[in-house]
């Protein structure tokens, strides 16, 4: 059947998985029963175990669900160490349920798939060689992609039941009190991992820095931890977050950023106490810079900045232009290292950040979100998951969640090389057009027709070229030509959940 974003969801998928098709971006006031983890009482003097192998032997069994976080990003050593041990122990039929998968994890996941060690995956996304093999049908069962808020919801309600969580941390004491903000391999917020810490039946911390007891501040607490493993190194500090963020000189990105800024400051939301979330791309960082000037000029401060945090946002905090940073993850060193010294940089877990099924998430209070896209279609639907060749190469991240902001702006170039960004129909719908308000490209912007208030407010702004989304799509097509339609087989290789747990789209195996 077709869901509300006009995507064909095969009936056999609905029947075999029990999923409901996507209906609406409104979550309403559903009542959900949460699950609770099994807890084995511990009373010993410490929980330190000498090797990962020993822990794997003791805790992991065939068919279990294991989880990891991706806060070490491309500098992660923990995932590879644990998965190596799991593969070498000949375990089978595991479900891999990390918060996301970074490129540094690809090779070993591919190996685990080929050897039948991993037969199910749920993740925010995947890229590179892993996305490629999955798109070619290597995994036995379809991958389930969930947003960060969606994963939090799925963990809380038991859709993801984590048997063993392996969480790498830059520091911990012998009982498992740990945080992400201190030490050489600090990555800042432990936001996504805090879900695993709260709900996993067995929690294994892996660290290279055993601190004197008790280690504080404790984001992960000893009450949650079963084992602590000391290893030589949990990660490569140089690859955990990018270094100093350079201000983009790309005229196209600057043009987009300037226009995004114009949209924000001429919207009804730009007033004292507003809130915003920006991403980490070149244009998004430039927006932060323009926004700073606009805030100074208009004597406006923001009540909070949300999401994945970068150094330019920290600068706004330290300048007093942003009162609080609500921090679920940190994209660069500047943001990661400032957490320990900035009491107003509040660590939040994924549920607090973005979960639709709790008693109030930060995104519900969010005024302005600036997000990116691989593709946007004329219905304003956004794809951040599959490439123009149909191969999985992205992640939902917080896209669906932050897009529920009062003003959601997608910033994207009209074309990338010979690939149009604005298309008649996106390859995969990840974020429904209903939650997208404005699309900004270097030649101008398009406003969702249902936002008549924004059309009126922005039409008065001199020098702001406004098009219909169809006009932008035609402009893009005129530049690049008409692509041949992609070829897929009938086999479903991945399911994309909307943040409420309904199915927004399926991804099929590519035909090569």
């Amino acid at each position: 059947m077709k869901n509300k974003v006009n995507r064909e969801i095969p009936d056999e998928i609905l029947a075999s998985t029990g999923y409901k098709p996507f209906e609406s971006v409104e979550y309403g006031h559903q009542v959900n029963q949460r699950v609770a983890p099994k807890v084995q009482a511990t009373t010993g003097p410490n929980k330190v175990v000498e090797s990962i192998d020993k822990i794997v032997e003791e805790t992991v069994r065939d068919g279990m669900t294991i989880s990891f976080h991706h806060h070490f990003r491309e500098g992660d050593f923990v995932f590879n160490m644990v998965m190596r041990s799991i593969i070498d122990h000949g375990l089978k039929d595991l479900t891999l349920a990390p918060s996301s998968l970074t490129n540094v994890m690809n090779d070993i996941v591919v190996e685990a798939i080929e050897k039948g060690v991993v037969t199910n995956i749920t993740s925010s996304g995947m890229r590179g060689s892993l996305g490629d093999v999955v798109s070619h049908g290597a995994l036995k069962n379809p991958v389930i992609f969930r947003s960060h808020g969606g994963r939090a919801r799925a963990i809380e309600n038991g859709d993801i039941k984590i048997d063993v969580a392996f969480l790498g941390v830059p520091n911990a004491d012998e009982m498992g009190n740990a945080n992400g903000m201190n030490g050489e391999t600090a990555f800042g917020s432990l936001g996504y991992a805090l879900m695993d810490a709260q709900y996993a039946n067995t929690l294994v911390l892996i660290t290279d820095d055993l601190k004197p007891y008790p280690n504080t501040p404790a984001s992960i607490k000893q009450t949650q931890v079963d084992y602590v493993v000391k290893v030589d190194k949990v990660g490569d500090p140089d690859k955990i977050g990018s270094g100093a963020t350079r201000f983009t000189k790309d005229p196209k990105e600057l043009q987009i950023a300037k226009m995004v800024n114009d949209v924000i400051i001429h919207s009804p939301y730009f007033k004292e106490g507003f809130s915003f979330q920006t991403g980490s791309g070149g244009a998004a960082l430039a927006v932060t810079r323009f926004l700073r000037q606009a805030m100074l000029d208009n004597h406006i401060t923001a009540s909070f900045a949300l999401g994945g945090i970068t150094k330019p946002t920290i600068d706004l905090l330290e300048e007093g232009l942003v009162k609080k940073i609500m921090d679920v993850q940190d994209f660069d060193k500047g943001a990661a290292f400032s957490m320990k010294s900035n009491p107003n940089q509040q660590e939040i877990d994924a549920s607090w950040y973005a979960d639709p099924a709790n008693k109030g998430a930060m995104v519900d209070k969010l005024d302005v979100a600036i997000l990116s896209a691989l593709e946007i279609d004329t219905k304003f639907n956004v794809n951040v998951m599959s490439g123009s060749d149909g191969v999985i190469r992205g992640a939902i991240g917080g896209h669906q969640d932050a897009a529920t902001a009062k003003l959601t702006i997608i910033s994207a170039p009209l074309v990338r090389g010979r690939i149009a960004t604005i298309v008649p129909d996106v390859t995969t719908v990840i974020t429904p057009g209903d939650s997208i308000d404005v699309v900004v490209t270097e030649i101008g912007l398009a406003i969702n027709p249902k936002r008549t208030d924004l059309i009126e407010a922005l039409s008065k702004v001199p020098g702001l070229p406004i098009y219909t989304i169809e006009e932008l799509q035609e402009r893009a097509q005129k530049i690049v030509g008409t692509p041949e339609p992609l070829q897929f087989t009938d086999r479903v290789v991945a399911l994309a959940e909307y943040r409420d747990g309904t199915l927004i789209d399926v991804i099929k195996q590519v035909k090569d």
């Binding site: 149909g390 090389g417 010979r418 530049i479 030509g481 692509p483 041949e484 992609l486």
Partner: protein, 97 residues
């Protein structure tokens, strides 16, 4: 017309296309590498074939490494590589251009 020498035009920069043209005897034999081959492979071949036909070239080996070039770039590089292969780069055929 007959190809006098193997010639190349274009670079491997993004949004460019590199075309190598050499003698052949079995029609136009394409060897095309492109990140957008699935969407635009046929379009790229068609544009190059058009240019070759304009110069009355019907037998050639055409090696193409495309980096997402737009159609006008494909055409420009194709004209250049033909003129070089025909040894007429110094006196371009303005009618064709």
């Amino acid at each position: 017309m007959e190809i006098k020498k193997t010639a190349m035009a274009g670079t491997l920069e993004s949004s460019d296309i590199q075309i190598m043209l050499s003698q052949g005897s079995n029609g136009l034999e394409f060897d095309l590498v492109s990140d957008v081959a699935k969407q635009f492979g046929k379009a790229i071949q068609a544009t190059i074939t058009d240019v070759l036909n304009t110069y009355d070239i019907h037998d050639a080996k055409v090696k193409v490494v495309d980096k997402g070039a737009l159609d006008m770039v494909v055409k420009a590089r194709a004209i250049t590589v033909v003129q070089r292969a025909l040894d007429m780069a110094d006196e371009p055929d303005w009618k064709v251009i």
